[in-house]
Amino acid sequence: MKRSRPTSSSTNLKTPRLDVRSRAELKALQSLMATAVFRPLTAQDGMQPRWLDGRRTSALAESFIKPNERLTSFDRLEIYNRVYWFRVLDCLYDDYPGLRAVLGERKFMKAITAYLAKYPSASFTLRNLGSRLEEFLRDEPNWIAPRVELALDMVRFEWAQVVAFDDEARPAITPDDILDTRPEKLRLGLQPYLSLLELNYEADEFLLAVKKSESAVLRSEASNTFEAMPHVSRPAKRFRPPKRKRIHLAVHRHDNMLYYKRLDPEAFVILKALRGGATVEEACLRGLSSTKRIGVDWGEEIKAYFNIWASLGWFCRFSKK
C-alpha cells in the first residue's frame, strides 16, 4: 500500500518531538497525554497553563500534538482535558444528589474535583467512580466541614445504592435448605447487593426529598464528548438538612427495584453478626444483648425478622470470602 510521507515539522524546531517507533515510545506518549488529561481544569474550565515542572503546557503540547490553522496544540489537548473532567464530574454529579444537597453545588464540585484528582478512575466502568469517595472524605474532611458526619452518612448511603442496583445476587436459601441445621451450627450468608448502614442522620428521608425535587438526569452512554460542566446548566436548590437521629438501614433490591428498609437496632446487630460469620445462635444472642427495649417477646420478634429477611431473598450460602 502506498504510504503518505512522514510528517515534517513545520513549527517550532527547538521543541523536542516525541516519536512512536516502539511499544515503549507509544507508552511514553500515552502516559504523557493521560497525565495532561487527568490534571484538573482551571477555575475557568480550561487546561492549566503550567506543566508539573513549571514549563508552559503549550510547549509540552507542541512536543507531540500538531496544531492546525484554527487550533494550537494546546487547544487540541485541552479539548480532551475538558471532556474528561466534564464526563467524570457529570457522573458523580448524577450519582451523589444527596451529598450535593448537603454540601451545596459549589462545595460539592470542589470536593469531587479534589477526589478525582487524587483517585482517577481505576475501573473500565463509570459505575465504580465513587468507590473510594468515602475513604477520601474521611482522610480529608476539610472538603465537607462543618457537616462531616452528615456528608459521610450520605456518601455511604449513596454508594450502597450503586451496590444494590447491580451487584451480584447469589441463589437465595430456602427454609428447606437449612431445615436440618441447628442454630448453633448454622451460618447464613447475606446477598452481596445488600448493604447494612448505621447512620447518624435520617439520610433516607432527606434523599427522597432531594430526588423528588430533581428530574432524572440520564447519563450519556457512548458518545465520547461532553459539552459543558455539569453545574453550568442546572439550577441549584437548597435543602434543609435532615434531623440528627441514629438510624439503621438495609439498602437492597427486590424484583430488581431499589429499596431502603429501616431496621430495629437489634435486627441490625443480628444481620451484621451474620455477615461477619457468626452462627445464627451467636448472632441472635448479640442482638438480644444489645437491646434496651423491654417487654418484647423476642422469640416472636426474631422469628418475624428472619421470615421477612428470607422472603426478601437476603440469605444465601455462607462464604468465608
Binding site: 500500500m1 506518549l29 474528561y84 465520547n224
Partner: protein, 291 residues
C-alpha cells in the same frame, strides 16, 4: 469498485456474514419501557457491552428480556485496543461471560486508547498513526479475538488532535491494523466526517481507501458544530453530508449491517427508529440500480 450486494444468506464479504441484519439502533435506557412494553419491530439492537458487564440486577434482567425478542450485537467502549499496556484479563473475562449470554455474532470496539497503568480516561483517545502503534494494536485485537472466540470489528473514532509522530493517514493506519490483525471494520461514517472537518482531509479519500472487503458494520450518527471544530455528540439526527457519505459507503461495501447511534438528548424511540430507517432508502436505491 466492488458492489458486494448480498443476496439473502450470502455474505457480502468475508467479514460480513450478516448482510441481512438490516438497520439497528442502540439500546438506551430511556427506551426500555417502550421496547419491553410495545415490542416494536426492530432489525437488531446494539448494546454497549460495559453497561451490561455487571454481576446482577436490572441491567441483566432487561438484557435477558431483550434477548428473548431481538438480535443483539455488542459494542464496546473500553477495550482500548490501541493501548500500549496489555489487555486487561479481568475485563476480557467479564466480556466473554457477556458474549456467551448474548450470543453476539460479532463484537466491536474502537481503534483508540484510553487507559494507562490502570487509570481510565473513559474517552476514545486518538492513536499516533505509526507502524509500531499499528503492530501493538493489531496484537491486542488478535489476543482479544482469540480469547473471546468471536469475530471482531474495529471502529474508527472521531478525533480532535493529530500527532507529530504519525507516519501515515488515519485510513492507512486503519488498513494497516486490520490487515495485521486480520479483523473486520466497523466503519463509522459520522466519525470520518467529524475528523475530516477537524483535520482538513477529504472524507471520500477515507471511504475510497479502506479495505472494503473488511467492513462488517456501519455506524451513523449526528454531531455538533462549534466555532473551531466539530464534536461527535450523538445528540442530533444524521446530517446531510453524513447521509451522502453513507450512500457512497454502501456503494463501496454493499449491503451492510447499519446502526444509528443516539446517546444524548435522546428523543422518543419512534423518532430514533424513524431516523435510522432512513438508511434503507440508500440501500434500496443501490439494489434497484443493480437490478
Amino acid at each position: 469498485m466492488s458492489i458486494g450486494l448480498g443476496v439473502t444468506g450470502v455474505p457480502a464479504n468475508s467479514f460480513n456474514n450478516f448482510t441481512e441484519y438490516g438497520i439497528g439502533i442502540g439500546l438506551r435506557v430511556p427506551h426500555y419501557r417502550h421496547i419491553l412494553g410495545q415490542k416494536p419491530v426492530v432489525d437488531w439492537f446494539e448494546i454497549i457491552s460495559e453497561n451490561f458487564m455487571v454481576d446482577g440486577g436490572r441491567p441483566l434482567e432487561v438484557l435477558d428480556s431483550i434477548l428473548e425478542q431481538y438480535r443483539v450485537v455488542q459494542h464496546g467502549v473500553a477495550m482500548y485496543f490501541g493501548s500500549a499496556d496489555r489487555l486487561n484479563r479481568e475485563h476480557l473475562k467479564k466480556l466473554k461471560r457477556l458474549v456467551k449470554r448474548t450470543g453476539t455474532p460479532w463484537l466491536s470496539d474502537h481503534l483508540c486508547w484510553g487507559s494507562v497503568d490502570g487509570r481510565y480516561t473513559h474517552d476514545l483517545l486518538p492513536m499516533p498513526y505509526t507502524f509500531a502503534a499499528a503492530k501493538v494494536t493489531a496484537g491486542n485485537i488478535r489476543e482479544a479475538r482469540d480469547f473471546l472466540e468471536v469475530p471482531i470489528c474495529v471502529e474508527n473514532v472521531s478525533s480532535y488532535a493529530e500527532f507529530h509522530a504519525s507516519e501515515m493517514t488515519e485510513w492507512e493506519f486503519l488498513s494497516e491494523v486490520v490487515e495485521r490483525a486480520d479483523c473486520g471494520i466497523l466503519l463509522d461514517v459520522n466519525n470520518i466526517y467529524v475528523s475530516s472537518q477537524n483535520h482538513n482531509f477529504d472524507p471520500y479519500d477515507y471511504l475510497n481507501n479502506v479495505p472494503h472487503k473488511r467492513v462488517g458494520q456501519i455506524h451513523i450518527a449526528g454531531h455538533s458544530k462549534f466555532e473551531k471544530y466539530i464534536l461527535d455528540t450523538h445528540d442530533h439526527p444524521v446530517l446531510d453530508p453524513v447521509w451522502k457519505m453513507y450512500a457512497h459507503a454502501v456503494k463501496l461495501v454493499g449491503r451492510t449491517a447499519t446502526l444509528l447511534e443516539w446517546d444524548d438528548r435522546i428523543p422518543t424511540f419512534d423518532e430514533v427508529h424513524h431516523e435510522a430507517l432512513k438508511a434503507n432508502q440508500f440501500v434500496d436505491k443501490l439494489e434497484n440500480a443493480a437490478a
